[in-house]
């Protein structure tokens, strides 16, 4: 814990932020469009990862169904873009409806003509769905592995439902966004993509601060309390159901924002966002980055996905093995994840093991719980 407790010099913190902001501003000129677009997509995935860290790392709820909320956010954004760009198509409705002979817009599309409604829908709809699912599950005291199975089952229900609704949302083909218009510009154009990158970068930072605010102080401590000993929290007079519903709902809202940003940068939303492996990958990013660290979730999402695209370019089909190996490595050797390992005296213990650093002669301080060994 020693490293995490160090208060960094204000100047170092300030220069870190200046460099970070400069990099964000300069990224579109430094990176080729293709790479920039990838980075933007991976940054948007780090927002869903932050949500996973809040519910899993802090509260102990391992959800394998975050894809539901991610996809809902994506669909909200895509519906808005499709419907506002449909003036030249028959009946003034999105083009795909003609394929299935639909002439009248399904009722739920209507509100998405409004940009204000869409702006709120992107995060409120996933948050409400998460809150509802969460409340029903938590009220019945379903937890642990049963909770994980239930979220995965819900994911499959949503996946199958969306897949089958050709006449409502173009079913398995999904909704394309790259050829739609936003503020008179093509969404897939280079200049729009640059703006989406900046918006994403800002929202990642905002989401990070928001998550930090949520877990700081007593509310966050109750979440940790629920993770470590839920009955004890009950007997102290708190209702864990409410706390879990709130945090699950927050994670759902973050997933929605993440999905919307991912959709506009990848050009399409489809039920593929709700496949089982994708939601499990979200958990892997957080596990590798470091549970309960927030920053680890962001770094895990960005680096693993970047590695995935680089590896897949060089050695197609080898990524699944590497990802599996990475997960096994983290589970067996770094249970706290990479960032958790660094913060928890991991590097010093490693150096000591190789004799590169002298062992401390007394306990560094009694509050250090040394899980790594050090007992030779």
């Amino acid at each position: 814990m020693s490293l995490s407790k160090i208060k960094f010099d204000k100047k170092i913190v300030l220069s870190f932020w200046i460099i970070l902001i400069a990099l964000i501003i300069a990224a579109p000129t430094l990176l080729p469009v293709f790479r920039l677009n990838l980075l933007g997509r991976y940054l948007s995935l780090s927002i869903v990862a932050l949500g996973v860290d809040l519910i899993w790392g802090y509260t102990g709820l391992l959800s394998l169904g975050q894809g539901i909320f991610f996809a809902l956010g994506g669909y909200c954004a895509a519906m808005y873009l499709q419907i506002t760009s449909s003036s030249e198509f028959p009946n003034n409705i999105p083009e795909f409806f003609a394929l299935y002979g639909v002439e009248k817009l399904p009722f739920f599309w209507g509100p998405f003509r409004s940009p204000v409604f869409t702006f709120f829908a992107i995060w409120i709809i996933p948050a409400l769905v998460a809150g509802l699912i969460g409340f029903l599950v938590f009220r019945n005291r379903i937890k642990g592995v049963y909770f994980s199975i239930l979220t995965q089952a819900s994911l499959l229900v949503f996946f199958n439902f969306f897949n089958g609704q050709q006449k409502l949302i173009n079913g398995t083909n999904g909704l394309k966004t790259d050829v739609t218009q936003l503020f008179g510009q093509m969404v897939g154009s280079e200049s729009m993509q640059r703006i989406f990158f900046w918006i994403t970068a800002i929202l990642v930072i905002a989401a990070w601060f928001f998550a930090k605010w949520v877990v700081k102080g007593r509310f966050g401590n109750i979440l940790i309390g629920i993770r470590d000993d839920e009955p004890r929290v009950r007997f102290t007079g708190y209702n864990p159901v409410i706390f879990k519903t709130i945090i699950f709902s927050i994670a759902g809202g973050l997933a929605g924002i993440s999905g919307a940003l991912y959709t506009v940068q990848s050009g399409i939303v489809s039920p593929q966002f709700m496949t089982v492996p994708f939601s499990i990958e979200m958990v892997i990013w957080v596990a590798v980055g470091g549970r309960g660290t927030l920053l680890g979730a962001i770094l895990g999402a960005v680096f693993i996905n970047y590695a995935k695209s680089l590896v897949s370019e060089a050695l197609p089909a080898s990524w699944m093995f590497i990802q599996g190996g990475l997960f096994i490595l983290v589970v067996t050797a770094l249970p706290e994840g990479v960032l958790g390992w660094i913060q928890g005296d991991g590097p010093r213990n490693l150096l000591q093991r190789f004799g590169l650093k002298r062992k401390i002669e007394t306990y560094p301080s009694l509050e250090v719980t040394n899980k790594e060994g050090n007992n030779e």
Binding site: R218, F219, N221, I222, G237, L366
Partner: protein, 249 residues
């Protein structure tokens, strides 16, 4: 039933798939009373606490606390009504610091909105300071609770219990694994709490129970075998047969 009673257990029966953990148990507690509950293993001591705190719903019978029935209420609602519980093995939040543990117990109201929006009140901070002094943990404020010694954990949990300001404190084996000196201090602490609070202590340690100098209820096979002062119950033939028969140490 008496108006001065804080808690009445009336004919409580708890049946776990045919096994009677409690069998028509009757017990009344007066306001401000300190009561010790003893009994051999399997007598139903912990189930008795589970029934009061809402963890286990009685198959039959009624629990009246401050004139209200507790049966069917949720654990957190019962806790908010003023029933606090300390568990057999210390159950504290090991990944939080001593201070954070106490913050959780003293914070009111216990709603998410209050906790996320507002910082802790000054009087609650003072209360935490006071509690930490009472249980000798003032130097450990920012230590992780998991790094405390067993005795310190027991005391932290007692401090958390007191911080909750319950009218009824249920204390399950507070001195298990403590040194003699710590045991004595704990007995004094519990005695000082009664009067203002009503305290129920469950323990095996006869020396400790004697120090509490309180009324004792002996449980056996899910029912109250005998009640009275330590002297009375030691002379009771039924108690000697089931419990005190062997020489104590």
């Amino acid at each position: 039933m008496n108006n001065k009673d804080l808690l009445n257990l009336i004919d409580i029966t708890v049946s776990f798939e045919g096994f009677l953990a409690l069998n028509k148990l009757n017990l009344n507690l007066k306001n401000g009373e300190l009561r010790a509950v003893i009994g051999p293993n399997g007598a139903g001591k912990t189930t008795f606490l589970d029934v009061i705190t809402g963890k286990v719903k009685p198959t039959k019978g009624e629990v009246i606390f401050k004139g209200k029935s507790l049966v069917g209420r949720k654990e957190h609602k019962i806790a908010r009504l003023g029933v606090g519980r300390k568990f057999q093995s210390p159950r504290i939040f090991e990944n939080l610091t001593v201070k954070e543990n106490l913050e959780i117990s003293v914070s009111t109201p216990k709603s998410p909105l209050n906790l996320i929006n507002k910082s802790i009140k000054d009087e609650q901070l003072n209360e935490i300071e006071r509690l930490m002094k009472i249980v000798n943990l003032a130097q450990k404020v920012d230590s992780k609770a998991g790094s405390l010694s067993h005795g310190q954990k027991q005391w932290l949990e007692i401090a958390m219990l007191v911080g909750q300001k319950p009218d009824l404190m249920l204390v399950d084996e507070p001195v298990a694994g403590l040194t003699d000196e710590e045991t004595d201090l704990t007995a004094d602490l519990l005695k000082s709490l009664s009067g203002e609070n009503t305290v129920v202590v469950i323990d095996h340690d006869m020396e400790f129970i004697r120090r509490l100098d309180s009324n004792v209820s002996v449980l056996n096979q899910g029912t109250v075998l005998c009640e009275g002062t330590m002297e009375t119950i030691q002379k009771d033939q039924k108690v000697i047969d089931v419990y005190l028969g062997r020489p104590e140490d």
